[in-house]
Subunit: 390 residues, 2 copies
Amino acid sequence: MFSLRRPPAHRLSRLFATSAARSGRAVVYAVNGDPATVLRVRSVPALPPPPAGTLNLQVLLAPINPADLNVVEGVYPSKPRADDAVHLPTHSVSDPLDTGTVWVGGNEGVARVSAVGPGVSGLGVGDWVILTRPQAGTWAAERAVAAADVARVPDAEALTEAQAATLTVNPPTAYNMLSEFIDLAPGDWVVQNGANSAVGQAVIQIAKARGLNTLNLVRHRPEIDELKQRLHALGATQVLTYDELADKSVRDKIKAWTGSKAIRLGLNCVGGKDTALMARLLGADAHLVSYGAMAKQPLSLPTSLFIFKNLKSHGFWQTRWYSMKSAEERAQLMQTLVNLIKENKLDTPAHEVLTISAAQTDEEATEKLQEAMVAMSEGRYGKKLLLKIE
Amino acid sequence: MFSLRRPPAHRLSRLFATSAARSGRAVVYAVNGDPATVLRVRSVPALPPPPAGTLNLQVLLAPINPADLNVVEGVYPSKPRADDAVHLPTHSVSDPLDTGTVWVGGNEGVARVSAVGPGVSGLGVGDWVILTRPQAGTWAAERAVAAADVARVPDAEALTEAQAATLTVNPPTAYNMLSEFIDLAPGDWVVQNGANSAVGQAVIQIAKARGLNTLNLVRHRPEIDELKQRLHALGATQVLTYDELADKSVRDKIKAWTGSKAIRLGLNCVGGKDTALMARLLGADAHLVSYGAMAKQPLSLPTSLFIFKNLKSHGFWQTRWYSMKSAEERAQLMQTLVNLIKENKLDTPAHEVLTISAAQTDEEATEKLQEAMVAMSEGRYGKKLLLKIE
């Protein structure tokens, strides 16, 4: 991986020539590096009619997930394939990243089938689909894909674009962490940190739907009461800040809440030393499952928890889950999640749509996108960002 | 738990009265605290003939394991039972620890059956046994125990006292860690730190007997070449210091050794940040098993190993293993280990015998024992210490 310095915004306009006859656009990168520097909005040629076994898709809405930025940076273990590269006409010899061979960013999103190639069965124009192959590139108005690389969204008519666009990463992560490591029965407790993350919110809702209790840990913030209310409204049983957890008297409170029932599943997206406080809440023979590392510090746990309380520490990666499971199992999971959405038991986390408008030039759109990337890297988005390319 | 200051050695003699008619002695403590302060050698009355269902034992040799000192300190999760307390006549009103109600230290050791109570079958005078109930107290010349709390040492005639006395903690820990977490086939690799610990030496020998390769990590020391030779003589495939491991070029060396075969089992008794270096040597879907924390720092591992390489971190505690298994399974494990000893595939680690001589008074013996405890706490014993009460 290597990184480029971001050119000052006022110089960006000189790096791009205006595209006269674009038919769609895509958010692309030619090299790995800081997303605020290497991402470009580029006009791309119209797709030809789909060859045999393939589809043309119109992407409706695609999340910009933190992991997607790690892919752009080149530090994520899951990468696009070499043959996912898109070859574009170069516009500007003065833009070192306008190399003509680029990758489209994005891993998740919902698309509408716009054309079906010969020999494709079970999918028709107008169907909503998601891409099942990781890192295939969803940040584009249109994509041409192998029919084998998509799955039809079940009951799409019942879903909003935002619900369908965010269906394949966070909700299945939450669902699987609640079911793959330990059998939980209604009334059992689960503890999680980073509880207001997108996965955390899905955990709260899916746990609630299963009759499980959740003890949710969040950072203190000025509007903590509002956040607690919001998580309670989603179905959180209890919410504590890490500061509240550090107070020794809280142990008695938690014992009263749980009726001294051992908590045997902990979900971690924070890491560092603070996670040890959460791990100490777990009873004997418990499982700690990590799916993120927001503190950017190693997971640090007392060895005694492993030896004397038989704690087991695992990781969970939805990409790996998909790679281990059959198409039928993947479809079954999606149906389960869609059913929860239809029953109003699972909703999309708070989000904001970043629109790349047809009225903007590539240069204007790139500048807007790069500003959003800077804001995201500085943690100024509290909400999930969804990309809409008009 | 509470801790007492150690009285100066020259005052100890005033704290004890000489026992005129002792029939045996024991190493006891009346309160939890620093072993160098709270442990006493006390003369104890002769045992009466054993009641029904019980045995009298003559303890031949008993290790002083680090965990035993943690029990004395009161910081170990496994503790003696209340009814294990021994009631002794008090000798000295000026010794605050001469309270009359004391616990005998020690968890491991070999004893000879000296008398058999009515209704006990399968055990006879002269049999060698080990105590199967944790923390029953082995640091004594004699003990009276329930027959159900002992197991006969198989093929005792083929074993030395030291081999039998150290049979129940370290070798089974090594054996079970090599078999309970992942199926290993001959030629597979295992990596371990603290490789010159008693468990580490057993791991090397048992792995060698199974045709497994070991990559052994040890601290650098002046006599490192000698240590490496000693571990190689036990059967170690490769030995590296942590300093050598920190050098990036070692990765290629390890790849050449293993033929790029993934290492899927790591054994940890160190903890802290250095263990991450070892964990990074593990391939996908590996297991890291911790059985000690010599660095006295939390186990600190990159979360990415859990998420993207599917690392699983466990603990192993032989006491728990015994509590989960039947008497038959425990006997089978002991037979397996005795067979390895008889085949000269497993030997006792380097050790030193601390003898409490019949010629010493209780005061003299206590002073000698407390000096040994100070030396042990300062890490001045490189060898395992075995207690012999004449």
